[in-house]
Amino acid sequence: MAHEDHDAIYDLLAARGVSRRDFLKYCGSIAALLGLSQSFVPEIARAVNQAARLQPAVWLHGGACTGCTESMAQLGTPDIATVVLDILSLEFADTLSMAQGEDALAAAEAVFEREGEYILIYEGAVMKGFEGNALRVGGMTGLYELEHAAPGAAAIVAVGSCAVDGGFVMANPNPADATGVQAYLEEKGIDTPVINLPTCPMNPDWVVAVIVDVLLLGSLETGAILDKLDRFNRPKYIFSQTIHDNCPRRGHFENGNFVTEFGTEEEAKGYCLYKVGCKGPQTYTNCPIVRWNRKVSWCVESGAPCIGCGSLDWVDVGAPFLNRHRDLPLPNIGNTQPSTIAGVVAGVAAAGLAVHGIGMKATGRTSGGAPYEEMKERDRKRMKKGGGE
């Protein structure tokens, strides 16, 4: 029986151009991501194989650019992650479904009826502005769709920064009053567990890893997943170290080899991007390890400073992307770099001291100060009032 299962999945994979070896290697990388030893590989492979009979998954969109779907699907040349996700019985996905219109919505509705059985994958921000009308789906607001789908889900995976906290959609001035799934559900008193996977877009391998963990290895059922989440409900095995901790350019950082300007010899040498605004030291994701675009490369390796898209409130906190510190919004003045503000304040203080020094010189106090008062002013006043001893 188990043997037949294996055959089934390998046939499926082979049809998409994925060899058995590639697949096992991929399961190995998932095991590594989850912090499991390689002895778990067969178990993961078996779990994926049986997945079609486990919980179905639904992929909904809020206010999104669809970049996360793009990141996941990479439609031109489907890779293992896509195939695996396919097998995970993604029964409805706004963007990817073959079915359209009412048929597609009916498919989703059929899943929603299986209370407690399905996983909801949510991409995009929850836009509360315009009475929820910034997004309309099937004649209803996007908010309604989320509120309708969330309570019955076994768990929600919020993919990409937008679903986590509103992402770029909620960047200043946030016209659509965007927020993240978790915050919105808390507001509505819906307590379905939410697993957050920030970055813009999210990394497909993380989605697969989390699904394997939650569904197939059963950590949702046993509750083990809760211990694996940090205080922002992000899996610790992905979000506990900074980019900087694992960066291949770290040696250049320590040695003080920096790129100061693009288009220079330093850039060609692959020096550290700290001076051109790399947010790696403040950004907690494992991008350098998991890598992107089917593990071809990732931001810093490809020569771009990390813009901190894995942080919360990442646009306002990370911009300007080529500066070390964020801008501070000053009333009536606008966005200003912290160093400019500090320089102005310190300059005013220095000028004040210089002017004061001229005054001290003019009043003859610079060689020993003025003569001392005989007694404190207030004692003198008291004496004048006749109360003195």
């Binding site: 205080r231 506990s240 901790d245 950082f253 320590e254 040695n255 003080g256 080899n257 920096f258 700290y274 001076k275 947010k279 030291p281 403040q282 901190g308 942080s311 919360l312 409130d313 906190v317 990370g318 070390r324 510190h325 964020r326 501070l328 912290p338 160093s339 500090a342 304040v345 310190a346 203080a349 220095a350 001291l353 004061h356 020094g357 005054g359 001290m360 009043t363 106090r365 610079t366 060689s367 020993g368 100060g369 003025a370 003569p371 001392y372 008062e373 005989e374 007694m375 404190k376 002013e377 207030r378």
Partner: protein
């Protein structure tokens, strides 16, 4: 010439040492801090960070020593006198400081001609020195909150979340450096503007003659009387 005598009792030797160590640490932390903020020369990052991570502990241990000293060492109760009492009593506001805030402000704003009576230190000076303690602790807190080995301790995470993440913590740490720079500029200016006798004492432990005061702040003799 109307300045007070500067006697060694004002700064017992241990405080001459803590002041030196403080000065060296702050200078080292500021230079390395500027470098970490924006590496203006190639090749020195590990030196700068090594320096920063060394002197941050020196600064804190020095603060601890200074505070223990405050409770265990006796220092002069006022300038121009050799009479001593437990240092902390002289460091915090004393009887002679009472009601003197406004006269000091007027003096420095050129609205008062005569030098106000001080105690161990004048009112503004005491406020400024007192301010260095929370400033140092704030530098330490924000610093440890962005330091790899300690940043995920619950105590620091609570602060990092409260200020909206590590980027903001870094900016606050950076502003604390500017707090030290502005404090030091004003401090160095005021300590020396009326003559360098105070510096001779705190750096070289060298006494200089001048006015002597009684416990009421009255001039009772000394050079310049």
């Amino acid at each position: 010439m109307a300045h007070p005598a500067h006697y060694r009792e004002a700064h017992p030797f241990i405080f001459v040492m803590t002041h030196w160590i403080n000065l060296v640490s702050i200078v080292a932390l500021t230079i390395s801090g500027f470098y970490i903020h924006y590496p203006f020369l190639p090749g020195l990052m590990s030196v700068a960070r090594g320096m920063h991570f060394f002197f941050m502990f020196v600064l804190l241990i020095n603060l601890a020593v200074r505070i223990i000293g405050a409770f265990t060492v006796k220092s002069a109760t006022r300038l121009g006198s050799r009479e001593v009492d437990t240092d902390i009593k002289n460091w915090l506001p004393q009887k002679l400081n009472r009601g003197q805030m406004w006269p000091w402000l007027k003096y420095y704003l050129f609205l008062k001609k005569e030098h106000p009576i001080g105690a161990k230190y004048g009112v503004l000076q005491k406020l400024a020195y007192l301010f260095t303690v929370p400033l140092t602790l704030a530098a330490a807190y924000t610093g440890f909150a962005i330091w790899g080995p300690t940043m995920d301790w619950g105590f620091f995470i609570a602060g990092t979340d409260a200020v909206g993440g590590p980027m903001h913590m870094r900016i606050i740490h950076y502003y604390i450096m500017w707090g030290f720079i502005v404090f030091t500029a004003i401090h160095v200016y005021l300590a020396n503007i009326e003559g360098t006798d105070p510096s001779k004492l705190i750096f070289k432990w060298q006494e200089t003659e001048g006015l002597q005061f009684d416990a009421e702040g009255k001039v009772i003799g000394g050079k310049g009387h």
